[in-house]
Symmetry: C2
Subunit: 259 residues, 2 copies
C-alpha cells in the first residue's frame, strides 16, 4: 500500500513574495508545512492531539529543496505531501509543488524526528502515530545531502541579527523559516535581485530562543560562474544553529511579465 498522499491548492498573495514577485524561500517552506499540517489534521494526528496524547511533536531536521521555478504572485499552485518512509527514529517526508498545468515547480525531501515536549529529546516513533500515513517501514531512510561547512579562515561575510518576538513560534523557539531568511539576507541585494536558488540543502542543528543574537555567515564560491554556490552557517553564541549549501541560477524573466 503506497503512502497516503495529501494535496491542496494555494493561491500566492503578494505578502508571500520577494521583490521579484516570486514566492520567498521562507514562505515556500511555510506553505509546504501548512500542507503537512493539514494532512496531520486530516488523519486525526494534529499538533494538539500529539501533545495531549503522547507529549511529543514533529521536528524537521533537514530539507533538500530542488527548485525548477519559483511560483509567481497570484498564481495557483498544487501542494502535495506524503510521509514516504520511516525507521525507529527518522521519518522521510516528501513535498511537491505543481503549477495548474501539472508542471513540477518544486520538489522537497525532508527528515523529521519526534521530540518529547518536556525533555526536548528525540523519542522513538510510535507505530500508532505513524500508521495512518501508510509510510513504509524501512531499515534506513534516505540520506539527504549534508550542507557543506565553512572552513576556519575562509573569506566569509557575516551579519548579526537579534531574534525578534515575531520570529518566535507558538512553541517558544525561532520559526524554521527564519533561518533561510537570515541566510539569504547575508548576501548583497544586487545579487538577490538577479539570482534565485535552484537547490538548497539545509540542516537544523540547535534551537534558538528569544533574546539570543545570531550570526549569519556566508562563503560565496563563484569559481563556476554558471553555477554560483554559497555556503551558510547560522550560529548563536558560537553554537551552530543551522547550515546550508545553496546552488544559484540567474533570473531570466523579471518584473511583471507572465513567464
Amino acid at each position: 500500500m503506497p503512502a497516503h498522499s495529501f494535496s491542496e491548492l494555494h493561491t500566492i498573495p503578494f505578502y508571500e513574495c520577494n521583490v521579484n514577485n516570486r514566492i520567498s524561500i521562507p514562505m515556500l517552506i511555510n506553505i509546504l508545512i501548512l500542507a503537512s499540517e493539514h494532512q496531520n489534521e486530516n488523519l486525526g494526528l494534529d499538533q494538539t492531539y500529539l501533545i495531549d496524547h503522547y507529549d511529543v511533536g514533529w521536528v524537521v531536521t533537514s530539507y533538500s529543496i530542488h527548485i525548477n521555478q519559483l511560483p509567481r504572485k497570484d498564481s495557483v499552485v498544487k501542494m502535495t505531501t506524503r510521509g514516504t518512509s520511516y525507521n525507529r527514529y527518522f521519518a522521510f517526508r516528501e513535498f511537491w509543488l505543481h503549477d495548474q498545468d501539472g508542471q513540477e515547480l518544486v520538489k522537497v525531501e525532508s527528515i523529521w524526528v519526534l521530540m518529547n515536549e518536556q525533555t526536548r529529546k528525540i523519542t522513538p516513533i510510535d507505530d500508532t502515530i505513524i500508521a495512518p500515513y501508510q509510510s513504509e517501514k524501512v531499515k534506513r531512510v534516505p540520506r539527504l545531502t549534508r550542507p557543506e561547512r565553512i572552513e576556519s579562515g575562509a573569506d566569509v561575510s557575516a551579519k548579526e541579527y537579534q531574534v525578534r518576538w515575531s520570529d518566535i513560534d507558538f512553541n517558544g523557539h525561532v520559526n524554521n523559516s527564519r533561518y533561510p531568511e537570515w541566510m539569504l539576507d547575508s548576501l548583497p541585494m544586487a545579487f538577490l535581485n538577479e539570482h534565485e536558488p535552484g537547490n538548497i540543502d539545509i540542516r537544523f542543528e540547535n534551537e534558538v530562543k528569544y533574546g539570543n543574537r545570531v550570526t549569519s555567515s556566508v562563503l560565496v564560491d563563484s569559481s563556476d560562474n554558471a553555477k554560483i554556490k554559497t555556503v551558510h552557517e547560522i550560529k548563536s553564541n558560537d553554537v551552530l544553529s543551522a547550515s546550508a549549501t545553496i546552488i544559484w541560477k540567474e533570473i531570466k524573466a523579471k518584473g511583471n511579465d507572465q513567464s
Copy 2:
C-alpha cells in the same frame, strides 16, 4: 449610490499568527491590503494598470485600527473593503473583518494618496481612476486620530534594526507591515505574550530603503492599568518614518482554546 463594496473569505494559516496563535498585526494589515488589491483588480484598476496608464500608485498614509478580537489560527474570516469617499488629494478607505457568525472582529479606517512613480510626489486623484469605486466626492475626508509624539527627554526604550532584503517590497521600499513589526518588537516579550492591541493609530511619514538602519522607540504609559498606552516612533537617520499610538488590553483566553 453607495460606494462599491468588495468581500472575500480568508483562512488564517499558522504562519500569519503570533505566539498566541492569533493573527499578527503585520499580517492583519497584509490580508486587508490583499482584499483591496483584489477589489482594484476586480474593477480593472490594478497596480500594473495604474503604472502603465497613469504612472501612479496608491500609497497609504495612515490607519486607524480598532480590534474587538484578533482572529485565531485556522479560523475563516470575511474581509470587506470599500473606497468610501475622496477629495482632490485624499481617498478614505474602510475595511472590516467579520467572523463566520457575522461578528465584527476588526474595523480599519485608512487614508490614501496617489503618488507619481517617477517623482514620488503626491498627485491629484484623477476622476477616471476613482469612478469605478463609486466613492463619494467630498470636501473633506474624515480626519483619523493622529498618533501622539514622544516628547524629548521622555523615558523611552529603543531598539535598532537593519533593514533586511526581505523587508523590501516590489517597489523598492520597506513594506508597510514592517513598521508595526518593529514597533511591537520594541516591547518586552512578557508584555506581548499577555496583551494585544485594542486600538492602533499609525501614520507613515517617510519611506525607508534597503541598507538603512532604523530606531524603534517606545514610551509606555501605564498610569491607567486597565488601559496601557504605548507611543511609538520609527526613525531613520533622525527622520521620522512612522509613528503610532497603541491602546492595549489583556489577553484573557490563551493557548489552544477555542474562544
